[in-house]
Symmetry: C2
Subunit: 314 residues, 2 copies
């Protein structure tokens, strides 16, 4: 048995086996495995859950397949505007960034906001200025470019539609939803919990839109007394449901287990308000859960039973 | 007895009788009374709680004494950057705006985002563009100007300090804290709850900083099953505590009354993380509560007992 635990996701939605090629599926699984390993190694070596979730999320941000950091979708202005958050379950310290450009790893900026600013949440140019003051390296627009994302955007950029992650542009976006977000949660050997989430948002989204990912309590939450949670899905219902903190409250106030609480939020409360997506969680005992109400969720975990699980479909 | 209820606040902090002139105190009380009346009249005439909290908050935004809308503080760039949110307890519909300039009534923009956009939260230029598309009238920088706010900013604008609302610039800002935010909560004759919050933030704040006011679950929350809450205080701890939604969870999952739950959050949980400030709430039975752990909170209410209460100090 491990005295640590990690779980991560790379987005949820209408991810169907029949729409996937073996090569693409292999690339996704390899990306999930690499991210899991980067966090797992930190935890195994006695590192903090905060560092583990940061590095696991950064690995997914660096992977062009996932809609976060490099490979983020295009917004309605043809730019990449990213959101991220991180939370430390030991101190309830939190950092979040919304609508930031030119940052390779928004999760690292979120951690710097948590550690080195007096604020929790910064957005836009103010967030970029803070990144520069922290010597975080910047990247130009080309770094974030991918042909796939560009083609997706071109298909809808003269319309009012927005598309949820890497849909087939020939399909109705409301029937073929993929929510591009990445996230990680972990418990380290000291029993400290942490959560992090990062996203490029929705293709052709109106710029300035903030989803649930950087909203503490909604897309991201961690508390040593209960759990660490990172969400992926249609951001607006996840905000209205205050989804991540609701799991924590159901555990703390109603005595539910992590899995019971996540099931209640994902499969009852979110469904009641058309909230499609899922979430990953770990509790303070090192249990993990990965629960979604959509067709699929890119996910991986290695919990206290030292059982590695990597999956895409239901 | 009334079958409706309303409460509002105009900020909390180190508000001491000995620092107030009789004239200024009278102006504050009159501003609170006018705002209360504007919401009360709507409720009495059968209007919705959503309209009542919007109009009560707009009244406080229009009043140059309160740090929201007109009379907002200056940020580190010498501009006014405002946040607001509104939530409908019947549908869990929510709208929020962060870091917006030139909008006389950010609460009205938040309501338009809730009603007419597919998003919950918009920030910066994207929010302004949406406001223009909705024909919301804009105001130039002078509209937001007040000599008091300008003098406050001048006292700290070449420093890294930020000041919480209208502190005495000669005092240490950490010893004399005032949290400039306005908010309202209401239950209407149909039993529907609503909450709204609006703020100009902190004097000399780094631009791009988002406090708790526009964060659904943190500064603002409404749910017909439990309560409507609007917070005022040091935004960062209120975000970490997911303060507004925590009240709702303590009521729903632990069976606490509105007042018990607000006491637990304001006087126990927030104090544990140095979270100074307060909140107002109404529940689905029309009870109201106004609770703060600071020296004072500008506040007013008229609940189901038809008892009007207007106060500043403890």
């Amino acid at each position: 048995m491990n005295n640590f635990s990690i779980a991560l996701h790379g987005g949820a939605g209408t991810i169907l086996r029949e729409q996937m090629t073996p090569e693409l599926e292999g690339s996704y699984l390899e990306g999930l495995r690499l991210a899991l390993e980067s966090g797992y190694t930190i935890l195994k070596n006695g590192g903090s859950s905060l560092d583990a979730v940061e590095m696991a999320v950064a690995s997914l941000e660096d992977n062009i397949l996932f809609n976060a950091g490099r490979g983020s979708v295009f917004n309605s202005n043809g730019l990449h505007e990213m959101d991220a958050a991180i939370m430390d379950g030991k101190t309830l310290g939190a950092g979040a960034v919304a609508g930031v450009k030119n940052i390779a790893n928004p999760v690292k900026l979120a951690k710097l906001i948590m550690k080195n600013s007096e604020h929790v949440m910064l957005c836009g140019q103010g967030a970029l200025d803070f990144a520069i003051s922290q010597q975080l390296p910047l990247e130009n627009e080309e770094y974030f470019y991918s042909q796939l994302r560009y083609d997706q955007w071109q298909a809808v950029c003269n319309t009012d539609n927005f598309v949820l992650d890497h849909n087939d542009p020939n399909k109705n976006s409301m029937q073929d939803k993929k929510f591009g977000t990445v996230g990680a949660v972990a418990m380290d050997q000291s029993g400290n919990l942490a959560a992090a989430t990062s996203t490029g948002g929705m293709t052709n989204k109106k710029y300035g839109r903030i989803g649930d990912s950087p909203v503490i309590g909604c897309g991201t939450y961690a508390n040593n007394n209960t759990c660490a949670i990172s969400c992926t899905g249609h951001g607006e219902p996840f905000i209205k449901a205050v989804a991540a903190y609701d799991v924590s409250c159901l555990m703390e106030y109603k005595g539910m287990s992590l899995e019971q609480a996540m099931n209640e939020v994902v499969n009852v409360k979110l469904i009641n308000i058309q909230g499609e997506g899922g979430m990953i969680g770990v509790d303070r005992h090192g249990n993990s859960a990965m629960i979604f109400n959509s067709a699929g969720m890119y996910r991986a975990s290695n919990n206290r039973d030292n059982k590695m699980e990597i999956g895409i479909y239901k």
